[in-house]
Structure formats: C-alpha cells, structure tokens
Subunit: 286 residues, 2 copies
C-alpha cells in the first residue's frame, strides 16, 4: 500500500493503476476509522481493482466553535488499518495541500443543504460538497463510497454528482452499528460510559419507529410524536430535530405511504450525534 | 466530424479518441461562432489530437430580462464551420439534456464573481462556472480554451479549476478584432451600422489607454479619467464601468506598476458590450 500526502504523489501512484479499464474506488473519510469505514472499503474492493481511502479532516465543513481542533486524529492507526483491509493507496493531505490559497470556488447544493443539519450547521454541506468535488478531481475515481449514517451528506453528494455530470458512481452502504444499536461514528469516542447510555436512546427511538411502521402505522406525526416523547424523556439528551423526510428531496413527509427516512440529531452534553433509519411501508411485520 | 446532442452519444464518440494518451481539447461556446472562436479551435488543434467544440446557450447564466431568447442561434452554420476548421466532435445539447431537473448543485467563485460585470449581472458567473464544470465533467478534456475577450470569465474559470483541482489546462487566447478595432462578439450581430460606429469607441478608448501607459503614464486615475471622458462624450454609449484591475484578483489597481487589465462594459441602446486590454508598464514606447 502506498501513502500519498501530496496531490502530485497521489496522481503518480494512481497512474499505473488506472490502465486497461481497471476501476478505481474512493472511500473519502475524515479518519478515526471504524467498522463503518471498513465496510465501505470492503464494498469498494468488491467492484474496484484499486481502492483509495482519503483521510482529511476538512476545515471547510466546520463552523467556528465546532470540533475541528478536537476531532480525533489517529493517522498511524488509520494507515495501518487501511493496509490491513486491502486499500491500495491512502491519500492523507495536510490542510495546506488541499487549500493552498483561500478557496474562493465552492460547490453548493441548494435546497438540500439547508434542511435538517443544515439549519444549525450553516455552510457545512457546502464545505462537504466542495471538498468531495476536490477529492473527486484529484483521485478521478470510477466509484465513491459513502455511509448511510451521514444520510443528508449522501443525498447532497448524489445530487451534486448528478447535477454536475460527474462521471462517478455514488455507492451507499448501510450504517454499521454496535451491538447496543448505536451507529458507529468517530465522534462516539467523545462519549464516556454514562453519556453513551443516554446516546443509545437515539437508535432505540429509531428502531421503535421502524417497528411501528412495520406494524402498520402510516401517520408521520404520530411516529414523530412517539419518538420525540422517548427522546425528550431523557434528562441529558438535547434533541435538535426529529424529522421524517423524502429520501431524495429531504422534504418533510406527513404520511408514510412510500419509503421515507427518519432522521435525528441530538446532543449529549457537548457531543452532537446524528442517526437515521429507513421507514419502509412496503415491509410487513411477520 | 461527429455531432452529438446527448451526453451519452458524446461520451461514446470520445471513448475511442481518448486512448493512448491522446489529448482532448474543449472549446466551450454559446454558438454564433466567429473568428474569435475559430482562433480557439486553431489553438486547440495545435496541442490536442482531438478537438471538441460545445455549442450551448446556457440559460443559467442569463438573468430575467437579458437576451437569452434573442441570443443568435445558427447551429447549422456553426456545425459546418466546426467541420471546416477541423473539429472532431461538436457537442450541441438541448437545454433539457444539460438541465433535466432543477440544477440544485452550483459552482460559485466568490470574490471574483461579484466584481466588474458581476455587479449588474447577479448570478451570471455562477451560471458560467456551473455550466463549464458540467461541460468539463461531460467531455473530460485535457485542456480547455477561452478567449481573453471575456476576461472576467477567464479569471473565474482559472480560479475554479485551481481551487477545485480540476485536472485541466486552461488556455487563454488573445481577443480577435475587426479591422476597425472592435472585439469580435456574437452580440455584435445585434448592432446596425450606426450603432456600430458608437460601439467602436470602446476599443478606441482602450487602445488610447494602452498607448498612454506605453508612453509612461502610471497613474490609474488619470488613465481612467481620460478613457471615461472619451466614452462619456458619445451621445449614445452608456458606460457601465471602466476599471483597471489586477489580472488575477480583479481588484482595482490605482498605480500601473505591474501589468493590469483595463476593462469596460457599455451599452449601445439595448446592446451590452464588453472589452478589455492589457496595460503593461514593462512595455516601452519605441
């Protein structure tokens, strides 16, 4: 496995790997890699001869006061993990390599970026879309892999790729969860055991909503009210939003007559967590 | 020469032409092609084995009330001209092919886009950057060719390519002028003989400014005042701006100690015209 810290080195490393129609897959990450990321790498390996993992904590997607400085950085572990899981190239640029001058050019996906997390994280998805567009241009992958855990990000990237005609397949992979149901996230490392016991309620509320739809519930307001009640009952959780949205437009959905996404953002003390699940009315209780 | 109206057909036409490291050059145009465009095609042919000309009047870069509907469309002539000048492929998509659904994803180059023409043509350069990004992703050229005539556009595209790491050489070509000095533009077709006699003053004022800097003038205000006086003296010309700007940042320049661009926008009746020239203090009068 090669590790490239500069764009020049990365392009040099990829050039011989790109010949003869061999597919290149990109797994863009911010590092602190966990089983969620490894599932993306595995998925990439299934359909690509060459797998590139990028590791870059992107300052452009953090607002002042967010956790850019605190975000976990464990590059040596990440690189070792990538080698072990069969990545061919790791791209780990410094901020100055990605942003050598003020990034005047930005990609924005209007409409989608202002919903859900976008209401409090102003500019976040512009930062995500911009860095992903840059990574796409640097790596020029045939396919790129994103987790459903960051559902809004996935929808924003899919739309960017479609609207801008990027010649890239966007592949989504199911959220990987701990045995207690919690979605894996690099930010879970911020939680101590007590905080985690509160954070677990998020996925518990989501599972309950999925179950209720499976049992025939179609009224979105009732599903939201029940999930909201469960989360509000916890003395520590601070809910930012609980919403049922259309899977592509992210617009609120009142009746669950078609598959929809239930999305939650909540804080446990200073730690902001997100999770989501599919509400599928075509799925029947056994 | 092949003409493709869809992205699928274009990609199909280009696939066999891309092999063995053969370079693809793109000349993006809005059609109504003239010698300015042909100079871009010639330049592309000099360094690219395959030359693609795109012909697309991009609705996204016109504001309501601008000349989107009136813009000259002469596709048959354009295609014949492209064949004659040695283009390999013409890409002439319909609006619905480029924008099958509302284009939520946009590329913007902040700072540069709000200056000069951006002050009155709100959103224009976002529309330009977005469609050029799309054309780049559709054609995947090694190099793209733009005229200096649309100087701000050139600067915006250069910055987009640099900031977003697009693997494309942006090549600029000198403005082509009629014998009377007027910069070639598809919009010149809107002018009758009388209007044209007023429009000619724009390039005349620019030439005079170039001459004055060549003779030693370094005070930007004096150069602007003189050019402004000449243009204001015409009873028909309506000057929108006359500015001396830094060639890359487009910020106003007070003293011409380094090469700078003198840029003009003016209207002759309803026809909006732009032109620009290099003010080069290192160039000496003979």
């Amino acid at each position: 496995m090669r590790t490239a810290h500069t764009i020049t080195d990365l392009r040099k490393a990829l050039q011989p790997l790109r010949r003869d129609g061999r597919r290149v897959g990109l797994v863009p990450t911010m590092g602190a890699l966990h089983d969620g990321h490894w599932s993306l790498v595995e998925q990439a390996r299934r359909s690509c001869e060459t797998v590139v993992a990028s590791i870059f904590v992107n300052p452009l997607q953090f607002s002042p006061g967010e956790d850019y400085e605190a975000y976990p950085r464990v590059l040596d572990d990440d690189v070792a993990g990538c080698a072990q899981r069969g990545c061919d190239v790791v791209f780990a640029p410094a901020p100055g390599e990605m942003y050598p001058s003020p990034p005047l050019a930005r990609v924005a996906v209007r409409g989608l970026s202002e919903r859900l997390c976008g209401r409090t994280r102003t500019g976040h998805f512009d930062g995500v879309a911009t860095v992903v567009a840059k990574l796409f241009n640097v790596v020029q992958p045939d396919a790129a892999y994103f987790g459903e855990k960051d559902y809004q990000q996935l929808v924003v990237i899919r739309r960017m790729v479609r609207d801008l005609n990027m010649p890239i397949d966007v592949v989504s992979c199911p959220t990987v969860r701990d045995p207690d149901g919690m979605a894996l996230s690099s930010r879970n490392a911020y939680l101590d055991a007590d905080q985690r016991s509160h954070a677990r309620l998020i996925s518990a509320a989501l599972y309950e909503a999925v179950e209720s739809v499976r049992s025939g519930e179609r009224d979105g307001r009732r599903v939201l009210a029940e999930a909201g009640r469960r989360l509000a009952a916890d003395p520590v959780l601070q809910v930012e939003y609980v919403e049922i949205v259309h899977p592509k437009t992210l617009e609120p959905v009142a009746r669950i007559d078609h598959p929809a996404r239930l999305c939650v953002a909540a804080r446990v003390d200073a730690v902001r967590l997100i999770d989501n699940m599919l509400l599928d009315p075509t799925e029947r209780a056994e």
